[in-house]
Symmetry: C2
Subunit: 274 residues, 2 copies
Protein backbone atom coordinates (compact mmCIF):
# COMPACT_ATOMS: atom_id res chain seq x y z
CA UNK A 1 0.00 0.00 0.00
CA UNK A 2 1.24 3.47 -0.84
CA UNK A 3 2.56 5.66 1.96
CA UNK A 4 0.08 8.52 2.36
CA UNK A 5 1.72 10.30 5.25
CA UNK A 6 5.27 11.32 6.08
CA UNK A 7 6.31 12.72 9.45
CA UNK A 8 9.77 14.26 9.28
CA UNK A 9 10.28 12.21 6.15
CA UNK A 10 9.34 8.87 7.71
CA UNK A 11 6.16 6.91 6.99
CA UNK A 12 3.92 7.23 10.02
CA UNK A 13 0.72 8.63 11.39
CA UNK A 14 1.52 9.43 14.99
CA UNK A 15 3.53 12.09 16.76
CA UNK A 16 4.73 12.81 20.26
CA UNK A 17 2.13 14.03 22.72
CA UNK A 18 4.78 16.59 23.74
CA UNK A 19 4.84 18.25 20.36
CA UNK A 20 4.17 21.97 20.69
CA UNK A 21 1.75 21.71 17.81
CA UNK A 22 -0.55 19.83 20.17
CA UNK A 23 0.44 21.55 23.41
CA UNK A 24 -0.06 25.12 22.19
CA UNK A 25 -1.14 25.00 18.54
CA UNK A 26 2.39 26.28 17.92
CA UNK A 27 2.66 25.85 14.16
CA UNK A 28 1.21 26.39 10.71
CA UNK A 29 -0.46 24.41 7.96
CA UNK A 30 -1.22 24.44 4.25
CA UNK A 31 -4.00 22.59 2.46
CA UNK A 32 -2.84 21.89 -1.08
CA UNK A 33 -5.10 20.66 -3.87
CA UNK A 34 -3.20 18.31 -6.18
CA UNK A 35 -4.47 17.34 -9.64
CA UNK A 36 -2.60 14.62 -11.48
CA UNK A 37 0.52 15.23 -9.43
CA UNK A 38 0.46 18.99 -10.01
CA UNK A 39 -0.25 21.65 -7.36
CA UNK A 40 -1.03 24.78 -9.40
CA UNK A 41 -1.06 27.13 -6.39
CA UNK A 42 2.22 25.78 -4.97
CA UNK A 43 4.17 29.06 -5.14
CA UNK A 44 1.44 30.81 -3.13
CA UNK A 45 1.47 28.01 -0.54
CA UNK A 46 5.23 28.22 -0.15
CA UNK A 47 5.16 32.03 0.06
CA UNK A 48 2.56 31.98 2.82
CA UNK A 49 4.32 29.20 4.73
CA UNK A 50 7.62 31.10 4.56
CA UNK A 51 5.96 34.28 5.82
CA UNK A 52 4.23 32.37 8.61
CA UNK A 53 7.47 30.72 9.72
CA UNK A 54 9.21 34.10 9.72
CA UNK A 55 6.47 35.72 11.78
CA UNK A 56 6.36 32.86 14.30
CA UNK A 57 10.15 32.59 14.47
CA UNK A 58 10.15 29.03 13.12
CA UNK A 59 12.83 27.62 10.82
CA UNK A 60 11.09 27.23 7.45
CA UNK A 61 11.23 23.81 5.81
CA UNK A 62 12.92 23.52 2.43
CA UNK A 63 10.23 23.93 -0.26
CA UNK A 64 12.01 21.41 -2.49
CA UNK A 65 11.85 18.83 0.28
CA UNK A 66 8.15 19.57 0.78
CA UNK A 67 7.52 19.24 -2.95
CA UNK A 68 9.26 15.87 -2.99
CA UNK A 69 7.24 14.69 -0.02
CA UNK A 70 4.00 15.96 -1.54
CA UNK A 71 4.73 13.98 -4.69
CA UNK A 72 5.45 10.89 -2.64
CA UNK A 73 2.26 10.93 -0.57
CA UNK A 74 0.00 11.88 -3.50
CA UNK A 75 1.63 9.35 -5.82
CA UNK A 76 -0.93 7.60 -8.02
CA UNK A 77 -3.83 9.79 -6.85
CA UNK A 78 -5.57 11.66 -9.65
CA UNK A 79 -7.11 14.13 -7.21
CA UNK A 80 -5.79 14.71 -3.71
CA UNK A 81 -5.65 17.22 -0.92
CA UNK A 82 -2.29 17.30 0.82
CA UNK A 83 -2.08 18.85 4.25
CA UNK A 84 1.35 20.15 5.21
CA UNK A 85 1.74 20.88 8.92
CA UNK A 86 4.83 22.48 10.44
CA UNK A 87 5.10 22.73 14.23
CA UNK A 88 7.80 23.98 16.57
CA UNK A 89 8.42 20.37 17.61
CA UNK A 90 9.23 19.31 21.14
CA UNK A 91 10.87 21.35 23.85
CA UNK A 92 11.02 21.87 27.58
CA UNK A 93 7.69 22.56 29.33
CA UNK A 94 6.45 26.15 29.10
CA UNK A 95 5.69 28.64 26.38
CA UNK A 96 9.26 29.78 25.74
CA UNK A 97 10.39 28.47 22.35
CA UNK A 98 13.36 26.10 22.76
CA UNK A 99 16.80 27.55 22.06
CA UNK A 100 17.38 24.91 19.41
CA UNK A 101 14.23 24.35 17.43
CA UNK A 102 13.59 21.04 15.70
CA UNK A 103 10.31 21.54 13.85
CA UNK A 104 7.96 18.69 13.11
CA UNK A 105 6.96 18.34 9.46
CA UNK A 106 3.84 16.37 8.53
CA UNK A 107 2.86 15.81 4.90
CA UNK A 108 -0.35 13.79 4.49
CA UNK A 109 -2.52 13.05 1.44
CA UNK A 110 -6.29 12.73 1.58
CA UNK A 111 -8.73 11.91 -1.21
CA UNK A 112 -10.09 15.05 -2.85
CA UNK A 113 -13.63 15.62 -1.52
CA UNK A 114 -16.29 15.49 -4.22
CA UNK A 115 -17.13 18.90 -5.70
CA UNK A 116 -20.75 19.81 -6.23
CA UNK A 117 -21.42 20.75 -9.87
CA UNK A 118 -24.48 22.75 -8.85
CA UNK A 119 -22.42 24.76 -6.38
CA UNK A 120 -20.05 25.78 -9.19
CA UNK A 121 -22.85 26.67 -11.59
CA UNK A 122 -25.57 28.11 -9.37
CA UNK A 123 -23.64 29.03 -6.27
CA UNK A 124 -23.76 28.19 -2.59
CA UNK A 125 -25.83 29.42 0.30
CA UNK A 126 -23.99 31.23 3.06
CA UNK A 127 -24.97 32.43 6.52
CA UNK A 128 -23.52 35.11 8.78
CA UNK A 129 -21.94 33.58 11.89
CA UNK A 130 -22.70 34.94 15.33
CA UNK A 131 -19.09 34.49 16.47
CA UNK A 132 -16.99 37.59 15.87
CA UNK A 133 -13.31 37.17 15.05
CA UNK A 134 -10.87 38.65 17.54
CA UNK A 135 -8.36 41.21 16.28
CA UNK A 136 -4.78 39.99 16.62
CA UNK A 137 -2.47 41.68 14.11
CA UNK A 138 0.45 39.46 15.15
CA UNK A 139 -1.37 36.40 13.82
CA UNK A 140 -3.63 37.94 11.18
CA UNK A 141 -3.36 36.40 7.73
CA UNK A 142 -1.49 33.30 8.89
CA UNK A 143 -2.83 29.78 8.53
CA UNK A 144 -1.70 28.81 12.02
CA UNK A 145 -2.89 25.95 14.18
CA UNK A 146 -4.98 28.09 16.56
CA UNK A 147 -8.33 27.54 14.90
CA UNK A 148 -10.85 27.35 17.75
CA UNK A 149 -12.70 30.38 16.39
CA UNK A 150 -13.33 28.53 13.14
CA UNK A 151 -14.38 25.38 15.01
CA UNK A 152 -16.90 27.32 17.11
CA UNK A 153 -18.18 29.24 14.09
CA UNK A 154 -18.60 26.08 12.00
CA UNK A 155 -20.46 24.45 14.90
CA UNK A 156 -23.15 27.14 14.68
CA UNK A 157 -25.10 25.30 11.96
CA UNK A 158 -25.59 21.81 10.62
CA UNK A 159 -28.08 22.45 7.83
CA UNK A 160 -26.36 20.80 4.84
CA UNK A 161 -28.00 23.36 2.54
CA UNK A 162 -25.75 26.03 4.08
CA UNK A 163 -22.27 25.59 2.67
CA UNK A 164 -20.37 28.29 4.51
CA UNK A 165 -20.50 30.94 7.22
CA UNK A 166 -19.28 34.51 6.91
CA UNK A 167 -17.14 35.76 9.76
CA UNK A 168 -17.17 39.39 10.85
CA UNK A 169 -14.88 41.11 13.31
CA UNK A 170 -16.03 42.88 16.46
CA UNK A 171 -16.64 46.10 14.53
CA UNK A 172 -18.92 44.32 12.05
CA UNK A 173 -16.46 44.24 9.16
CA UNK A 174 -16.65 41.21 6.87
CA UNK A 175 -13.36 39.27 7.11
CA UNK A 176 -13.69 35.81 5.53
CA UNK A 177 -15.65 32.55 5.68
CA UNK A 178 -14.78 29.66 8.00
CA UNK A 179 -12.74 27.89 5.28
CA UNK A 180 -12.59 30.43 2.44
CA UNK A 181 -11.98 34.05 1.56
CA UNK A 182 -14.66 36.37 0.24
CA UNK A 183 -14.79 38.74 -2.73
CA UNK A 184 -17.53 41.14 -3.84
CA UNK A 185 -18.08 43.21 -6.96
CA UNK A 186 -19.14 46.68 -5.80
CA UNK A 187 -19.80 49.49 -8.28
CA UNK A 188 -17.91 47.45 -10.85
CA UNK A 189 -14.82 47.03 -8.68
CA UNK A 190 -13.60 43.76 -7.20
CA UNK A 191 -13.19 44.08 -3.42
CA UNK A 192 -11.83 41.70 -0.79
CA UNK A 193 -11.41 42.39 2.93
CA UNK A 194 -8.12 43.61 4.32
CA UNK A 195 -6.67 40.98 6.69
CA UNK A 196 -4.33 43.00 8.88
CA UNK A 197 -6.40 42.49 12.03
CA UNK A 198 -7.71 38.94 11.67
CA UNK A 199 -8.59 36.29 9.11
CA UNK A 200 -6.57 33.89 6.98
CA UNK A 201 -5.00 35.11 3.75
CA UNK A 202 -5.83 32.19 1.49
CA UNK A 203 -3.72 31.07 -1.44
CA UNK A 204 -6.71 31.15 -3.79
CA UNK A 205 -7.26 34.77 -2.69
CA UNK A 206 -3.60 35.44 -3.50
CA UNK A 207 -4.07 33.97 -6.97
CA UNK A 208 -7.16 36.12 -7.60
CA UNK A 209 -5.30 39.23 -6.45
CA UNK A 210 -2.35 38.34 -8.68
CA UNK A 211 -4.62 38.18 -11.73
CA UNK A 212 -6.93 41.07 -10.83
CA UNK A 213 -4.40 43.80 -10.28
CA UNK A 214 -7.02 46.51 -9.83
CA UNK A 215 -8.84 44.66 -7.08
CA UNK A 216 -9.32 46.64 -3.87
CA UNK A 217 -8.09 45.19 -0.57
CA UNK A 218 -9.89 47.21 2.07
CA UNK A 219 -12.33 47.17 4.95
CA UNK A 220 -15.72 45.89 3.82
CA UNK A 221 -18.95 46.39 5.75
CA UNK A 222 -21.64 43.71 5.69
CA UNK A 223 -24.20 46.12 4.21
CA UNK A 224 -21.78 46.87 1.34
CA UNK A 225 -21.36 43.17 0.71
CA UNK A 226 -25.12 42.64 0.67
CA UNK A 227 -25.45 45.40 -1.94
CA UNK A 228 -22.78 43.88 -4.21
CA UNK A 229 -23.59 42.78 -7.74
CA UNK A 230 -21.56 39.56 -7.31
CA UNK A 231 -20.21 37.71 -4.30
CA UNK A 232 -17.95 34.68 -4.42
CA UNK A 233 -15.71 32.67 -2.12
CA UNK A 234 -12.22 31.41 -2.84
CA UNK A 235 -10.70 28.21 -1.47
CA UNK A 236 -7.54 26.27 -2.23
CA UNK A 237 -9.61 23.08 -2.28
CA UNK A 238 -12.95 24.23 -3.66
CA UNK A 239 -11.77 26.95 -6.04
CA UNK A 240 -14.10 29.81 -7.01
CA UNK A 241 -17.54 29.40 -5.46
CA UNK A 242 -20.34 31.75 -6.50
CA UNK A 243 -22.48 32.84 -3.58
CA UNK A 244 -26.17 32.38 -4.33
CA UNK A 245 -27.43 33.79 -1.06
CA UNK A 246 -26.20 35.37 2.16
CA UNK A 247 -29.06 34.72 4.54
CA UNK A 248 -32.15 36.03 2.74
CA UNK A 249 -30.26 38.16 0.24
CA UNK A 250 -29.96 36.48 -3.16
CA UNK A 251 -27.16 36.92 -5.72
CA UNK A 252 -26.64 35.65 -9.26
CA UNK A 253 -23.22 34.51 -10.44
CA UNK A 254 -21.85 37.33 -12.59
CA UNK A 255 -19.17 37.86 -15.19
CA UNK A 256 -16.26 38.42 -12.79
CA UNK A 257 -17.05 35.16 -11.02
CA UNK A 258 -17.38 33.29 -14.30
CA UNK A 259 -14.10 34.69 -15.64
CA UNK A 260 -12.29 33.58 -12.51
CA UNK A 261 -13.85 30.13 -12.70
CA UNK A 262 -12.46 29.93 -16.25
CA UNK A 263 -9.07 31.04 -14.92
CA UNK A 264 -9.25 28.20 -12.41
CA UNK A 265 -9.95 25.72 -15.19
CA UNK A 266 -7.01 27.17 -17.12
CA UNK A 267 -4.81 26.58 -14.08
CA UNK A 268 -5.74 22.91 -14.36
CA UNK A 269 -8.43 22.66 -11.69
CA UNK A 270 -11.64 20.92 -12.71
CA UNK A 271 -14.46 22.95 -11.14
CA UNK A 272 -17.22 20.41 -11.24
CA UNK A 273 -15.60 17.11 -10.30
CA UNK A 274 -12.96 15.70 -8.04
Amino acid sequence: MAVRELINGQAGATLSSRDRGLLYGDGLFETVRVVGGVAPLWPHHMARLAEGCARLGLPAPDPRLLATELQAVASGMEAAVVRITVTRGEGARGYAPPAIQQPTRIVAAFPMPPLDARAASEGIRVRVCALRLAEQPRLAGLKHLNRLEQVLARAEWNDPAIAEGLLLDGAGRVICATMANVFAVIDGALVTPALERCGVAGVARAEVLATQVRAQVRDLRLDELLDASEVFLTSSVRGILPVQAVGDKVFAPGPVTRALQQHWRDLGFPLEQA
Copy 2:
Protein backbone atom coordinates in the same frame (compact mmCIF):
# COMPACT_ATOMS: atom_id res chain seq x y z
CA MET B 1 9.76 1.76 35.07
CA ALA B 2 6.62 3.56 36.14
CA VAL B 3 4.13 4.68 33.48
CA ARG B 4 4.22 8.46 33.43
CA GLU B 5 1.72 9.02 30.65
CA LEU B 6 -1.69 7.62 29.81
CA ILE B 7 -3.50 8.33 26.55
CA ASN B 8 -7.13 7.30 26.75
CA GLY B 9 -6.11 5.13 29.67
CA GLN B 10 -3.30 3.31 27.84
CA ALA B 11 0.40 3.75 28.50
CA GLY B 12 1.82 5.69 25.58
CA ALA B 13 3.36 8.92 24.45
CA THR B 14 2.11 9.35 20.89
CA LEU B 15 -1.17 10.27 19.30
CA SER B 16 -2.67 10.37 15.84
CA SER B 17 -1.53 13.16 13.57
CA ARG B 18 -5.23 13.55 12.71
CA ASP B 19 -6.22 14.48 16.22
CA ARG B 20 -8.08 17.78 16.23
CA GLY B 21 -5.95 18.87 19.17
CA LEU B 22 -3.06 19.09 16.72
CA LEU B 23 -5.03 20.07 13.60
CA TYR B 24 -6.87 23.01 15.17
CA GLY B 25 -5.85 23.29 18.82
CA ASP B 26 -9.36 21.96 19.44
CA GLY B 27 -9.16 21.13 23.12
CA LEU B 28 -8.29 22.16 26.66
CA PHE B 29 -5.66 21.47 29.28
CA GLU B 30 -4.96 21.65 32.99
CA THR B 31 -1.60 21.84 34.71
CA VAL B 32 -1.93 20.25 38.13
CA ARG B 33 0.66 20.49 40.87
CA VAL B 34 0.78 17.28 42.90
CA VAL B 35 2.50 17.04 46.30
CA GLY B 36 2.86 13.59 47.83
CA GLY B 37 -0.01 12.26 45.74
CA VAL B 38 -2.34 15.13 46.66
CA ALA B 39 -3.57 17.85 44.29
CA PRO B 40 -4.89 20.56 46.62
CA LEU B 41 -6.47 22.64 43.83
CA TRP B 42 -8.17 19.66 42.18
CA PRO B 43 -11.77 20.92 42.59
CA HIS B 44 -10.83 24.17 40.83
CA HIS B 45 -9.16 22.24 37.99
CA MET B 46 -12.21 20.03 37.51
CA ALA B 47 -14.59 23.02 37.62
CA ARG B 48 -12.63 24.88 34.97
CA LEU B 49 -12.29 21.81 32.76
CA ALA B 50 -16.03 21.15 32.99
CA GLU B 51 -16.81 24.75 32.08
CA GLY B 52 -14.37 24.64 29.19
CA CYS B 53 -15.85 21.42 27.83
CA ALA B 54 -19.34 22.89 28.07
CA ARG B 55 -18.31 26.07 26.26
CA LEU B 56 -16.49 24.15 23.50
CA GLY B 57 -19.25 21.56 23.18
CA LEU B 58 -16.94 18.71 24.22
CA PRO B 59 -18.04 15.72 26.29
CA ALA B 60 -16.34 16.22 29.67
CA PRO B 61 -14.21 13.37 30.98
CA ASP B 62 -15.24 11.78 34.28
CA PRO B 63 -13.32 13.57 37.08
CA ARG B 64 -13.01 10.30 39.03
CA LEU B 65 -11.35 8.67 36.05
CA LEU B 66 -8.97 11.64 35.72
CA ALA B 67 -8.17 11.45 39.43
CA THR B 68 -7.35 7.76 39.12
CA GLU B 69 -5.14 8.39 36.12
CA LEU B 70 -3.42 11.31 37.85
CA GLN B 71 -2.61 9.05 40.79
CA ALA B 72 -1.26 6.41 38.43
CA VAL B 73 1.10 8.67 36.48
CA ALA B 74 2.33 10.57 39.56
CA SER B 75 2.76 7.39 41.58
CA GLY B 76 5.92 7.47 43.69
CA MET B 77 6.73 11.10 42.84
CA GLU B 78 6.97 13.38 45.84
CA ALA B 79 6.49 16.48 43.70
CA ALA B 80 5.00 16.39 40.22
CA VAL B 81 3.19 18.48 37.66
CA VAL B 82 0.50 16.54 35.81
CA ARG B 83 -0.75 17.91 32.54
CA ILE B 84 -4.26 16.80 31.58
CA THR B 85 -5.14 17.45 27.93
CA VAL B 86 -8.58 16.84 26.47
CA THR B 87 -9.08 17.20 22.71
CA ARG B 88 -12.04 16.64 20.40
CA GLY B 89 -10.23 13.57 19.02
CA GLU B 90 -10.30 12.56 15.40
CA GLY B 91 -12.95 13.32 12.83
CA ALA B 92 -13.50 13.95 9.14
CA ARG B 93 -11.46 16.76 7.57
CA GLY B 94 -12.77 20.27 8.16
CA TYR B 95 -13.68 22.43 11.12
CA ALA B 96 -17.14 20.96 11.75
CA PRO B 97 -17.07 18.93 14.97
CA PRO B 98 -17.85 15.28 14.26
CA ALA B 99 -21.41 14.13 14.97
CA ILE B 100 -20.09 11.50 17.36
CA GLN B 101 -17.24 12.91 19.37
CA GLN B 102 -14.60 10.63 20.84
CA PRO B 103 -12.33 12.93 22.82
CA THR B 104 -8.67 12.19 23.37
CA ARG B 105 -7.55 12.24 27.02
CA ILE B 106 -3.88 12.63 27.86
CA VAL B 107 -2.65 12.50 31.45
CA ALA B 108 1.12 12.95 31.79
CA ALA B 109 3.36 13.50 34.82
CA PHE B 110 6.46 15.67 34.79
CA PRO B 111 8.95 16.34 37.57
CA MET B 112 8.06 19.47 39.52
CA PRO B 113 10.38 22.27 38.38
CA PRO B 114 12.61 23.64 41.15
CA LEU B 115 11.13 26.65 42.94
CA ASP B 116 13.37 29.60 43.67
CA ALA B 117 13.39 30.41 47.39
CA ARG B 118 14.44 33.98 46.66
CA ALA B 119 11.49 34.43 44.31
CA ALA B 120 9.12 33.46 47.11
CA SER B 121 10.79 35.71 49.67
CA GLU B 122 11.90 38.75 47.69
CA GLY B 123 9.74 38.48 44.61
CA ILE B 124 10.24 38.24 40.88
CA ARG B 125 10.96 40.76 38.19
CA VAL B 126 8.30 41.21 35.54
CA ARG B 127 8.17 43.08 32.22
CA VAL B 128 5.29 44.41 30.16
CA CYS B 129 4.95 42.51 26.89
CA ALA B 130 4.55 44.34 23.59
CA LEU B 131 2.02 41.80 22.31
CA ARG B 132 -1.56 42.77 23.11
CA LEU B 133 -4.10 40.03 23.77
CA ALA B 134 -7.00 39.85 21.32
CA GLU B 135 -10.51 40.10 22.73
CA GLN B 136 -12.53 36.93 22.17
CA PRO B 137 -15.30 36.53 24.75
CA ARG B 138 -16.17 33.05 23.44
CA LEU B 139 -12.77 31.75 24.53
CA ALA B 140 -11.93 34.13 27.38
CA GLY B 141 -11.06 32.47 30.66
CA LEU B 142 -10.54 29.01 29.18
CA LYS B 143 -7.26 27.14 29.26
CA HIS B 144 -7.64 25.99 25.67
CA LEU B 145 -4.96 24.74 23.30
CA ASN B 146 -4.79 27.93 21.17
CA ARG B 147 -1.79 29.49 22.88
CA LEU B 148 0.16 31.20 20.12
CA GLU B 149 -0.28 34.58 21.80
CA GLN B 150 1.48 33.27 24.91
CA VAL B 151 4.22 31.69 22.80
CA LEU B 152 4.86 34.97 20.95
CA ALA B 153 4.73 37.00 24.17
CA ARG B 154 7.13 34.65 25.98
CA ALA B 155 9.51 34.85 23.02
CA GLU B 156 9.88 38.60 23.57
CA TRP B 157 12.63 38.20 26.18
CA ASN B 158 15.28 35.72 27.21
CA ASP B 159 16.87 37.54 30.14
CA PRO B 160 16.70 34.90 32.90
CA ALA B 161 16.41 37.70 35.48
CA ILE B 162 12.94 38.45 34.11
CA ALA B 163 10.56 35.77 35.37
CA GLU B 164 7.34 36.80 33.71
CA GLY B 165 5.67 39.15 31.25
CA LEU B 166 2.46 41.09 31.84
CA LEU B 167 -0.08 40.94 29.03
CA LEU B 168 -2.41 43.82 28.27
CA ASP B 169 -5.34 43.91 25.89
CA GLY B 170 -5.68 46.28 22.95
CA ALA B 171 -7.19 48.97 25.18
CA GLY B 172 -4.22 48.82 27.55
CA ARG B 173 -5.99 46.95 30.34
CA VAL B 174 -3.84 44.54 32.37
CA ILE B 175 -5.14 40.98 31.85
CA CYS B 176 -2.65 38.41 33.14
CA ALA B 177 0.93 37.17 32.77
CA THR B 178 2.02 34.61 30.18
CA MET B 179 1.66 31.72 32.65
CA ALA B 180 0.04 33.31 35.70
CA ASN B 181 -2.72 35.62 36.89
CA VAL B 182 -2.08 38.97 38.50
CA PHE B 183 -3.38 40.62 41.66
CA ALA B 184 -2.77 44.09 43.06
CA VAL B 185 -3.56 45.75 46.36
CA ILE B 186 -4.97 49.20 45.55
CA ASP B 187 -6.18 51.53 48.31
CA GLY B 188 -6.26 48.56 50.62
CA ALA B 189 -8.45 46.45 48.32
CA LEU B 190 -7.35 43.31 46.51
CA VAL B 191 -8.00 43.63 42.77
CA THR B 192 -7.60 41.18 39.89
CA PRO B 193 -8.50 41.76 36.24
CA ALA B 194 -11.86 40.72 34.85
CA LEU B 195 -11.38 38.00 32.22
CA GLU B 196 -14.53 38.24 30.13
CA ARG B 197 -12.72 39.46 27.01
CA CYS B 198 -9.43 37.53 27.11
CA GLY B 199 -6.98 35.84 29.44
CA VAL B 200 -6.95 32.54 31.28
CA ALA B 201 -8.83 32.17 34.57
CA GLY B 202 -6.27 30.27 36.58
CA VAL B 203 -7.08 27.81 39.33
CA ALA B 204 -4.75 29.57 41.78
CA ARG B 205 -6.68 32.78 41.02
CA ALA B 206 -9.91 30.89 41.76
CA GLU B 207 -8.50 29.76 45.12
CA VAL B 208 -7.44 33.31 46.02
CA LEU B 209 -10.88 34.63 45.10
CA ALA B 210 -12.53 31.86 47.16
CA THR B 211 -10.59 32.91 50.24
CA GLN B 212 -10.68 36.68 49.67
CA VAL B 213 -14.38 37.21 49.29
CA ARG B 214 -14.08 41.00 49.18
CA ALA B 215 -11.60 40.98 46.31
CA GLN B 216 -12.60 43.09 43.32
CA VAL B 217 -12.72 41.49 39.87
CA ARG B 218 -12.70 44.41 37.48
CA ASP B 219 -10.89 46.19 34.66
CA LEU B 220 -7.43 47.27 35.77
CA ARG B 221 -5.31 49.87 34.02
CA LEU B 222 -1.53 49.54 33.95
CA ASP B 223 -1.05 52.88 35.71
CA GLU B 224 -3.29 51.67 38.56
CA LEU B 225 -1.25 48.49 38.83
CA LEU B 226 1.97 50.48 38.95
CA ASP B 227 0.57 52.58 41.82
CA ALA B 228 -0.46 49.50 43.83
CA SER B 229 0.99 48.86 47.29
CA GLU B 230 1.44 45.15 46.52
CA VAL B 231 1.50 43.14 43.31
CA PHE B 232 1.68 39.37 43.09
CA LEU B 233 1.16 36.61 40.54
CA THR B 234 -0.71 33.35 41.05
CA SER B 235 0.11 30.07 39.34
CA SER B 236 -1.06 26.50 39.81
CA VAL B 237 2.56 25.36 39.65
CA ARG B 238 4.45 28.26 41.24
CA GLY B 239 1.87 29.37 43.78
CA ILE B 240 1.89 32.96 45.11
CA LEU B 241 4.76 34.96 43.64
CA PRO B 242 5.44 38.46 44.98
CA VAL B 243 6.32 40.91 42.23
CA GLN B 244 9.48 42.83 43.06
CA ALA B 245 9.45 45.01 39.98
CA VAL B 246 7.40 45.72 36.87
CA GLY B 247 9.93 47.24 34.53
CA ASP B 248 11.54 50.07 36.54
CA LYS B 249 8.82 50.26 39.16
CA VAL B 250 9.76 48.50 42.39
CA PHE B 251 7.40 46.84 44.88
CA ALA B 252 7.92 45.21 48.26
CA PRO B 253 6.05 42.04 49.25
CA GLY B 254 3.28 43.15 51.59
CA PRO B 255 0.94 41.62 54.15
CA VAL B 256 -1.73 40.40 51.70
CA THR B 257 0.90 38.57 49.67
CA ARG B 258 2.45 37.05 52.78
CA ALA B 259 -0.93 35.92 54.13
CA LEU B 260 -1.73 34.20 50.84
CA GLN B 261 1.68 32.54 50.80
CA GLN B 262 0.85 31.19 54.25
CA HIS B 263 -2.51 29.99 52.92
CA TRP B 264 -0.64 28.16 50.17
CA ARG B 265 1.56 26.45 52.75
CA ASP B 266 -1.56 25.53 54.70
CA LEU B 267 -2.99 23.93 51.54
CA GLY B 268 0.08 21.69 51.52
CA PHE B 269 2.22 23.46 48.94
CA PRO B 270 5.82 24.08 49.91
CA LEU B 271 6.66 27.57 48.62
CA GLU B 272 10.40 27.37 48.57
CA GLN B 273 11.22 23.90 47.31
CA ALA B 274 10.02 21.31 44.84
